[in-house]
Amino acid sequence: MTSAQPFLQVLASGLAMGLIYALIAVGLSLIFGLMDVVNFAHGEFLMLAMYATFGLFFETALDPIVLAPLVVAIMFVLGISVYAGVVRYAMRAKTNPGMVQIFATFGLAILIQGLAQYFFTPDYRSIPNTWLGGKTLNLGGVFLPWPQIYGGAISLATFLGLYLLISRTDFGKALEATREDQGAVALVGIDRNRIFALGWGLGAALVGLAGAVLAIFYYIHPNVGGTFALVAYVTVALGGFGSIFGALVAGIIVGVVEALTTLILPPALKSVGIFTLYLGVLFIRPSGLLGRL
């Protein structure tokens, strides 16, 4: 064991965790970029996806890796429903629609927490004996757990997929056009509502994928969303609201800085490192690393 080992270990773990943060955050950023809505129920979406993974695992005994597409599909439907049932109406506010949306999604978040407690009980759950659970890759003294390697890989693949989706498909072009100019798209025959609904579906599906990854190595309970929600908001704002690749870059920075902070400050203050960095960046670039004003 060399003296560099602890440093490398912290760096590697921070990188893996950062990729997962990016995956958690990108759905939030996507929805924001599309329609200027901050979804305060984002953490609860993550929690639901983790419960979905847990429930499906319990019913089918299939591995969470196999179940991930199913979880993503469920969350896609959920995202569209939330748009159609909640967000669409919240957008009607004449004064300060942003606040009303925060309010509506905040109510939704509490509602989802209550429902989770009602149906799943507040017990702590975790998925035992998965293919990757508890398995670790040893790279010369630097240990990387396979679930997190898998999470990092899924995250990178997802960002590649998103890039292709947005740059190569009609849907992606419609998304891009809608976020550029909501009024003009109506003229060229794009149904704004449909795009928004699909955007919410996609955003929820992305956080669903993150949930399916997290469920392998993290415990699950009705309040687990809160643990990741603040990190997700900071990641999105650091990268720039609406910027998908901003979320990737910011996620990695957050993960690595959070881990490295513990080498300087007491671990209880590790978030202070991220927060200070975030504020520093924002005061120099008020719209985040890759955001547009």
Partner: protein
């Protein structure tokens, strides 16, 4: 007419109270007892479990059981003509303000005669002051901050040991291991940034210095962190002879998983209960925790010495679907201690129940706990609530310390 002499007043008061007592007996009236726990929010699981435990206790009081426990034998409270206790639950969500408001509501609206709570030490801090102001006893089953009984409150009682007593037991165990020739020089502290973690670590740091142990790693971490990798890396680098963690269930699970992922096998873990004795913890990471020692107020294997345990556990299990643990056993016992006091007070008056509590003397074998007895000091602390140390071996907990109640020798070290 206007002149009513003192004797008359006294007599009529006596008559009234007699009528009162008879009314209790005849209607099979209920004695309302307030209960405040976190029933929603991040610690809802604790509150929901507590509810099962406390209802089991109420059952023991209200029905007739052949158990050698206070108030168990006859149905209801004999001292109040067989009146039954009725638990009224309130949710404090872990917020001291809400706990205080709920205590006030229970006292003024539901006319509870005493309050049991609250898990969070912060909530016990405010709710007990409210009880003090209304002259109603506050019995905490599980809030373990040492500061609570040092505030000079008259109506505050704590049946359980506090964190100082727990930590002393842990260090006495370490001393005993040392005496037996085992090498224990270095300690690692790992604690969450809450009242519980802070209190626990403060005492441990002090005891370590007094008793000649070197603290080589001292980590305060943020509770409910998304990741503990960096923290575990520091423990791994220092590799103490004994790791002393103070964490709740969520972080305890994450700690064990992360240690395993980083290929770190701690030499020994002696945990400050909480998460480390929770069923969810063992369901999740039991295979990684073989040999883990935790301080405890309860152990199922004590049934040989405390015959009521098995029967009570069955009753609890029928409600909750799980065995009694460190928290639920203490919560259950607190209600029995309180019921015993109300029974002896023969009254629902707060002051009288308080006096009865102050003169409580229940021997250990009439409890389900490993305690010597229940007897409160002037500050309301049960001084004889001796904790035990239990070890997770072969899928269950075994009492390993102190010798008087130990069922087996400790497996030491945990990992070589």
């Amino acid at each position: 007419m206007r002149v009513i002499d003192r004797r008359e007043v006294f007599l009529s008061a006596a008559a009234l109270s007699l009528i009162g007592a008879r009314a209790f007996a005849q209607s099979g009236a209920e004695v309302p007892v307030g209960v405040i726990y976190p029933l929603s929010g991040a610690n809802a699981q604790i509150g929901v479990d507590a509810r099962h435990a406390l209802e089991t206790a109420a059952d023991i009081v209200n029905k007739s059981f052949d158990l050698d426990l206070p108030t168990a034998k006859n149905a209801g409270l004999a001292g109040l003509g067989g009146a039954k206790i009725k638990l009224i639950f309130a949710d404090h969500q872990g917020d001291p303000q809400k706990g205080r408001a709920e205590a006030e509501r229970l006292i003024t609206q539901d006319k509870v005669v005493a309050i049991v709570g609250a898990f969070h030490s912060s909530v016990s801090a405010t709710a007990s002051v409210t009880c003090e102001r209304y002259g109603i006893p506050y019995v905490t089953a599980d809030s373990s901050s040492p500061s609570l009984h040092k505030r000079g409150l008259k109506f505050f009682f704590r049946t359980t040991a506090h964190d100082e007593m727990f930590s002393i037991a842990m260090f006495e165990f370490l001393d005993a291991q040392r005496k037996a020739g085992r090498k224990i020089d270095t300690l690692g502290l790992f604690f969450e940034d809450t009242i519980f973690g802070t209190d626990s670590s403060n005492v441990q740091r002090k005891l370590a210095a007094e008793r000649g142990y070197k603290v080589v790693v001292d980590i305060k971490y943020k509770s409910n962190s998304p990741s503990l990798t960096a923290e575990v890396q520091q423990i791994k680098t220092a590799n103490p002879d004994v790791l002393l963690p103070s964490s709740y269930t969520t972080d305890a699970i994450l700690l064990m998983k992360t240690m395993d992922e980083l290929g770190y096998k701690p030499k020994n873990i002696v945990a400050q209960a909480a998460g480390f004795s929770d069923k969810a913890f063992f369901d999740a990471v039991g295979d990684k925790a073989v040999g883990l020692i935790s301080r405890a107020s309860f152990s199922l294997d004590m049934a040989q010495k405390r015959p009521s345990i098995l029967k009570v556990n069955e009753m609890f299990k029928a409600r909750a679907g799980r065995d009694l643990n460190d928290n639920t056993s203490r919560q259950l016992m607190a209600v029995l201690v309180l019921a015993d006091a109300i029974d002896r007070a023969r009254s629902t008056d707060g002051e009288k129940i308080r006096d009865a509590l102050a003169t409580t003397e229940i021997p250990g074998n009439r409890t389900i706990m490993p305690w010597k007895r229940v007897k409160f000091g002037a500050d309301g602390q049960n001084v004889d609530a001796d904790p035990v140390l239990i070890q997770y071996v072969g899928g269950q907990f075994v009492t390993v310390y102190p010798a008087a109640v130990a069922v087996a020798e400790p497996l030491w070290p945990m990992n070589t």
